[in-house]
């Protein structure tokens, strides 16, 4: 391991500070974790869903383009969910399908079917923080919420858009995450994320995600129909809009296999 000598005093100072904070703020972290567990608890058991969605990508100068896709998701117990994305637009990638097994702390497993090549390719990379389809969303922003993905710290209560919210700090457990921390606003009533701030490796605010138009499915599961991600550094933004969403459509493991990729159209 390489140590940067001149940072050493800084490190030890930080470390001791961390220890002090830990002792005093034990409850803040416990509380954060408890809230995260409750959040996950309330969203268990939805099994699977299928959505039709659009991504609107905008540049700093407000040019925009739309990409359309279908998203199939399978709930996986005690691990990240499995997702299958089928691209409909732009035309030259129509039929391209992307399969993702997300994991909390391990790199995701990913495959892509290229219709023009008629082959399934596995992608081996550590790209969780990389952009999804050139958008402002990273893979890790879109994959399911898992308690193990982060360590937590409850910060404060705060009103957001008229809702009483918990404000929680989350630090990614994944080694190659592009973020140092996320600050999440969860409404107290339903434990739904309303706003998330993403901080980059230099600890400055990189992006803000806001959730809009929450709908209730199966009387239990809340889903936002619009996710709005703004990059503060590049001033680009992306909206992810769900046009249609159906739960418990009967999808199974076999619909999320490599073989299924080729069939998906």
């Amino acid at each position: 391991m390489i140590r940067i000598r001149s940072f050493k005093p800084l490190f030890s100072a930080l470390l001791s500070l961390l220890l002090v904070v830990q002792v005093q703020a034990q409850t803040a972290e416990e509380k954060g974790l408890a809230i995260a567990k409750e959040r996950k608890q309330r969203d268990l058991g939805w099994q699977d869903n299928q959505a039709e969605a659009s991504m609107i990508l905008r540049t700093a100068s407000r040019q925009e383009i739309e990409r359309r896709m279908r998203l199939l998701t399978l709930e996986v117990k005690d691990d990240g969910d499995k997702g299958l994305t089928i691209f409909d637009q732009p035309a030259d990638v129509k039929g391209t399908a992307f399969l993702n097994y997300s994991h909390a702390i391990e790199p995701d497993e990913q495959w892509m079917y290229l219709p023009a090549l008629k082959r399934v390719k596995r992608i081996a990379s550590k790209n969780k923080s990389g952009p999804f389809m050139g958008s402002e969303f990273a893979f890790e922003d879109l994959s399911s919420f898992e308690v193990e993905k982060f360590s937590y710290k409850y910060l404060r209560d705060e009103q957001y858009e008229g809702m009483d919210c918990f404000v929680i700090e989350q630090q990614p457990a994944y080694e190659h995450s592009g973020y140092t921390k996320l600050i999440t606003w969860l409404d107290k009533e339903h434990y739904r994320a309303q706003k998330v701030e993403f901080y980059d490796r230099k600890d400055s605010l990189l992006k803000t995600l806001t959730m809009h138009d929450y709908q209730l499915y199966l009387d239990k599961y809340w889903r936002p129909m619009k996710l709005s991600m703004k990059n503060h550094q590049t001033r680009k933004s992306t909206d992810l809009i769900t046009h249609e969403l159906q739960f418990r459509t009967g999808l199974s493991e076999s619909d999320f296999s490599q073989a299924a990729l080729k069939r998906a159209k």
Partner: protein, 777 residues
């Protein structure tokens, strides 16, 4: 009118003093609005075509402003575990640099390879210290054959690497942002050089170019301005030998500068690499006014006049000449508004303001101060400068030989001006001793030039990049660029497509070519995009809807002519090969390359206007069309000869030199005015040309000599600047002022004696005239 003004000052010196100081303070308060801008964009107006193209390109693709770190191990091979570990550490730490949005290096290069049907996308050197010797050798081979890396991120001989930090700077507070980035990178280099001794770090890129601009402005402000001040005080003491005179002048200079900078603040003009030298210029130009007034006053005192009388005498004698010379100088500086470089226009305006303020203060504050401060003067007739008279006699005797001699010399010098070449290249603005220049030279010598040229290829409709025809054009263009001798490196998306095609076919070398249909290309790109990690996306090469791509070329540090010629060649090639593709070229280097020529053209127009205005003023001041016409020669020749001398010294004309012509015109005109005014006065009194020349020499010769010494010293000090634009401007202006004196002393008298032979007033005989004239001196 004049009497009222003089009496007001002489009868109420305290009131004058108080009023002047009040106004100066009011003006000076404006300096609270002053702020400094050192970023390179201040050289370009908002309407500048190249700046617009550059900013457009930055908004279509991602920003490309960068700080680069060149790292060279003393051992000479970057592929040692130690150096690789350093590069990796640096790359990781660099993400924490303020405003960093992307860090590229050889270690985090996203290497793609195939393993059966798996596409592996990973850092080329993920864990250098855990790599076996074989793995390192393997990666070395990849690095040195990868077109995206070799000659850009790693030297072809493996002796140096570059780490590139792309920064996304805020629109507000750009300066501080540049400073923060430069400081943080330097700190990181220092920290890592402790852990990894035996490595050299060099900092280049746009961030450090800016840093160099700012550093040189700071150096100028902290060294040249005080140096000029000391020189002025010393010269005043030597010339006037009067404590009060020196002190009063210094007070006038300080108040002038304070008020000028304050007015700059009120006008919202910021300080910049150019305007930071306004105090030096104003000081240089204002000194002359004061010297004229005080010399006359001292003369009066020595003649036994009372102090008030001596001041009145000095004022009456100097008011008009000082006013005229101030106005002509101000006109010269005001024509800097023709410049395409906003900060040069600022420089002109502020200096013009300063010159007129200096005039006002030297006829109000200065006499009041001289009246109030105690002054002792030995009533002693100063021995008239016998040398000047001897010199005049020499000129008169030899004028027939002098004229052809000076004419030939002039023609030779003017012929030499053709050897000058407009050249603006930002790195060359800095002396080789400056760290930035040193680093840029090192980078050029070991890896690649610092000059870049980005080509945006716009193909019209969304996804058009994926069409095989378009991809082929991008690939051909890339290949054409690489074949050009000026090119060090080209980064192009076509290489990525070829590599992916090869990866998708089990790394079969024969597939290192473009995908053959549009869908395949689109799907490769999607696949690749989905596999890239945080910050290393394709936005810097492909636009949002994939209708355009940016091909980024790195070139040797060429002169601006070669640079713009290369641009034209590339654009021509594309226009011919791909008429349907819209192409735009842009880069900071290109902005500098173009500004030199457009600025030169506009400044020539400015100079013509300055010449016309100043000549008109001379016709009015000398009340003679003939004299006005004759004045053209001594006003124009110095610039011609000066630029000829410049061709011998350097021959490189940067944007600073383009303003020298009109600027120096306003200054050298003063000499001509003084000389011709005295000559004409003698002629009107009936003297012939020879006598009039003699009179002119004896009455203003010494004064001209003195002001020239002051001005040349001032501009010589400016030429000490580390910043080429200022240094060259100072040096050439100094040369021209010196030449102007030579022209006025050697050429002009000879010319007048040969061509101005017309009637001597017959009623007076020559001796009488001479005596009369001597009495008026």
């Amino acid at each position: 009118m004049r009497a009222v003004w003089l009496n007001a000052i002489l009868l109420r010196p305290w009131l004058t003093l108080a009023l002047c100081l009040l106004l100066v303070v009011m003006a000076a308060v404006g300096s609270k609005n002053l702020y400094f801008r050192g970023d390179y964009k201040i050289f370009f107006g908002p309407g500048n075509e190249q700046l617009q193209a550059y900013e457009d390109m930055q908004s279509i693709f991602s920003k490309s402003e960068n700080a680069s770190i060149v790292i060279a191990p003393d051992e000479g091979d970057v592929f040692s575990p130690q150096t690789l570990a350093l590069i990796k550490d640096y790359t990781e730490e660099a993400w924490r640099i303020p405003y960093a949005t992307r860090v590229d290096s050889m270690t985090n290069f996203q290497h793609t390879s195939a393993e059966g049907d798996d596409l592996l996308v990973e850092d080329l050197f993920e864990d250098p210290q855990g790599m076996s010797q074989d793995e390192i050798q393997n990666a070395r081979r990849v690095a040195l054959s990868e077109p995206a890396l070799v000659d850009k991120m790693v030297a072809a001989d493996g002796k140096a690497v570059m780490i590139n930090i792309t920064v996304q700077l805020p629109d507000e507070g750009l300066d501080q942002a540049f400073r923060d980035v430069a400081g943080a990178v330097r700190e990181l280099s220092n920290a890592l050089s402790q852990t990894y001794p035996n490595h050299q770090f060099y900092h280049t890129g746009v961030v450090y170019m800016n840093d160099a601009f700012m550093t040189s402005a700071e150096n100028d402000a902290s060294t040249l301005v005080p140096l000029m001040f000391l020189t002025v005080v010393l010269m005043l003491w030597l010339l006037l030998r009067s404590f009060t005179g020196t002190l009063s002048t210094v007070i006038v200079l300080i108040t002038t500068i304070a008020a000028t900078m304050g007015i700059s603040g009120w006008m919202g003009v910021f300080l910049s690499t150019a305007t930071v030298n306004v105090p030096t210029l104003v000081m240089t130009l204002a000194v002359a006014d004061c010297v004229h007034v005080i010399s006359s006053m001292l003369y009066g005192l020595r003649q036994g006049k009372s102090k008030a009388e001596a001041i009145r005498y000095a004022m009456e004698l100097n008011l008009m000449p000082v006013f005229i010379t101030s106005v002509t100088t101000a006109i010269g500086f005001l024509t800097l508004n023709f410049s395409d470089v906003p900060i040069l226009a600022d420089l002109g305006n502020l200096t013009a303001v300063g010159i007129m303020l200096a005039f006002v203060l030297s006829v109000t504050l200065l006499p009041a101060l001289l009246l109030l401060l105690p002054m002792r003067v030995a009533v002693k007739q100063q021995t008239s400068s016998g040398r000047m008279e001897a010199f005049a006699e020499w000129v008169i005797t030899n004028h027939k030989r002098l004229l052809p001699f000076t004419v030939i010399l002039t023609l030779v010098a003017i012929g030499a001006t053709l050897k000058n070449e407009v050249n603006d290249q930002a790195t060359e603005y800095f002396k080789p001793s400056m760290p930035f220049r040193f680093a840029a030279d090192y980078q050029e010598e070991h890896i690649s030039g610092m000059a870049t040229m980005d080509f945006g290829l716009f193909m019209g409709e969304p996804s058009a990049l994926n069409k095989p025809d378009n991809l082929q054009i991008v690939a051909d263009f890339t290949q054409w660029l690489r074949a050009q001798p000026e090119i060090d490196h080209v980064s192009s998306i076509s290489d990525t497509f070829k590599r992916l095609n090869q990866n998708m076919h089990g790394d079969d070398q024969s597939y290192y070519r473009l995908p053959e249909d549009r869908e395949l290309a689109a799907q490769y790109l999607l696949l690749y995009e989905m596999s890239l990690p945080f910050g290393l996306d394709l936005n810097n090469q492909v636009n949002l809807d994939k209708s355009a791509t940016r091909v980024m070329a790195t070139l040797q540090n060429l002169g601006s002519k070669e640079f713009t010629a290369f641009e034209q060649r590339a654009l021509d090639w594309l226009a011919q090969r791909a008429p349907n593709i819209e192409v735009r070229a842009s880069s900071p280097s290109l902005m500098f390359a173009h500004i030199g020529e457009t600025n030169m053209a506009s400044m020539l127009r400015g100079t013509v206007l300055a010449l016309i205005l100043i000549s008109c003023l001379l016709v009015i001041a000398l009340r003679s069309w003939k004299m006005g016409a004759i004045s053209l020669l001594p006003n124009l020749l110095p610039a011609g000869i000066g630029f000829g001398i410049w061709a011998v010294i350097s021959g490189q004309i940067n944007m600073g030199l383009s303003v020298v012509m009109s600027m120096s015109l306003g200054i050298i005109v003063d000499d001509t005015v003084h000389f011709l005014a005295k000559y004409q006065r003698a002629r009107r009194e009936g003297a012939d040309a020879e006598q009039a020349v003699r009179y002119a020499f004896s009455s203003v010769g010494r004064a001209l000599w003195i002001t020239t010494v002051v001005l040349v010293s001032g501009f010589a000090i400016l030429s000490l600047s580390n910043f080429g634009v200022n240094a060259d401007m100072g040096m050439l202006t100094g040369i021209i002022i010196l030449v102007a004196l030579a022209v006025d002393f050697l050429f002009l008298p000879a010319f007048l004696m040969v061509f101005d032979k017309k009637s001597v007033n017959k009623e007076d005989n020559a001796d009488d005239t001479d005596k009369k004239l001597q009495a008026t001196v």
